[in-house]
């Protein structure tokens, strides 16, 4: 298991006192498996989805995320689901959003937790069953002076 940043920075300002008991973390393979399960055998094409997140994350406890999909959101052509996945948190799933033509725009904003620097993947399923995706790479930094 890749050591987390918290463990690596152990020599510094009070950080040596932290013992983080980490459960088995999700891995890139675990994330791929979760994405494959969501995809249900259909191919995924990169494109049409946008993930708006800060590259440098100030605190992994609360990371703003905006996901949007280029879609007319008509009855005939709209996003039905957007699924978010991560690589290194204990679980690969983050959330699943269910939309429809009444959304007007395929756009969701939320805040997520990131336990470590990692890749986030967003996959959108369209009414016609096609799947589209994008990914974002994030660096999670640490605050100083925390609770022991």
């Amino acid at each position: 298991m890749t050591p987390s940043r918290r463990a690596l920075l152990g020599g510094g300002f009070g950080l040596a006192s932290i013992l983080i008991v980490r459960p088995a973390a999700a891995t890139p393979e675990g994330m791929e498996a979760a994405i494959r399960q969501f995809a249900g055998g259909s191919p995924i094409t990169r494109g049409r989805v946008t993930l708006d997140m800060p590259v440098l994350v100030e605190n992994g406890n609360s990371v703003p995320l905006v996901v949007s999909v280029d879609s007319p959101m008509t009855e005939a052509d709209h996003v039905t689901t957007i699924a978010l996945f991560n690589q290194r948190n204990p679980l690969p799933e983050i959330a699943l959003f269910q939309l429809g033509p009444r959304a007007g725009k395929a756009w969701v904003s939320t805040r997520i937790r990131l336990g470590d620097s990692q890749t986030i993947v967003a996959v959108a399923r369209m009414k016609d069953g096609t799947l589209w995706s994008t990914s974002a790479e994030l660096i999670v930094t640490l605050p100083a002076c925390i609770e022991s």
Binding site: F13, P54, E58, S62, P143, A144
Partner: protein
């Protein structure tokens, strides 16, 4: 020790304290910057938007507690203090204050507690408990946008001196004082995080690291633990003295409660 040595030691100590005093107040008003300015754009946006700021949920809670009748007296805060937007405006900005009854400095949480126990005849709230923080957040929120005026009361002069001395005193296994980071090295990075100037403009804050609301005392505990010192207990007079000094040092800056901080 001879009298002469004692005198020399006394002068040296006074000089050291005096020097610490000079060093501890060296951020001129024009250069005072809130912790807000050292945060990422995203965290700033979280604080700015009342719909996005989790601290506002606590302010809402506090507003309801303000109206709730409790205790043997069956009174709410509102029964005596009416509309908080009017009666509490500017109050948090001038705390810690002087409690005439006990002839000592008192912080806002202490004052709220005093009202509860003596005037509402209700059991005390745990410091750092959810209700205490929600009430403090609600009251302090009524001073949002107003300038900090704490520290001017002449009856608090001795407490201010104590706070100043504590601020300049090296502590812990890392042997660092508040001044070492927040006066001498603000703006630099500690690990990957920028060091702010330590102005208590937004308390109680929603700290992302805590994933909840917390007081200045909790934040100072984090610092003391950070330098591997034994922290003062919640409600300790040292904390009140430190808060008085920090508020005085932040004089003229705007209150932001509820602040969001990483």
């Amino acid at each position: 020790m001879s009298a002469r040595r004692l005198l020399t030691a006394g002068i040296a100590a006074a000089l050291a304290l005096g020097l610490a005093a000079v060093l501890a107040e060296t951020i001129p008003l024009a250069e005072r910057r809130s912790g807000f300015d050292f945060m990422s754009r995203e965290t700033q946006a979280m604080q700015r938007d009342d719909m996005s700021n989790p601290g506002m949920l606590s302010v809402l809670e506090g507003a309801e507690l303000w109206r709730t009748r409790i205790g043997k007296a069956g009174k709410s805060c509102a029964d005596c203090h009416g509309d908080a937007a009017v009666t509490m405006a500017g109050v948090a900005a001038r705390y810690p204050g002087f409690d005439a009854a006990q002839a000592t400095a008192i912080d806002l949480a202490g004052r709220i507690e005093q009202c509860r126990t003596t005037r509402q005849d209700a059991p005390p709230l745990a410091r750092e408990g959810r209700d205490a923080l929600a009430l403090a957040a609600f009251v302090a929120h009524q001073s949002r946008g107003m300038p900090i005026t704490a520290g001017d009361d002449p009856r608090l002069a001795a407490t201010l001196d104590t706070g100043r001395a504590l601020y300049g005193r090296r502590i812990g296994q890392l042997n660092l004082s508040c001044a070492n980071c927040h006066d001498d090295n603000w703006g630099q990075k500690l690990g990957s995080a920028p060091i702010p100037q330590a102005h208590p403009t937004g308390y109680p804050i929603y700290r992302l690291e805590w994933q909840s609301l917390g007081s200045l005392q909790r934040r100072m505990r984090n610092c003391m633990i950070g330098v591997r010192a034994e922290s003062y207990a919640y409600g300790a007079p040292e904390f009140t003295a430190l808060e008085l000094f920090l508020m005085s040092r932040a004089g003229g800056m705007s209150m932001e409660t509820p602040g969001v901080r990483p």
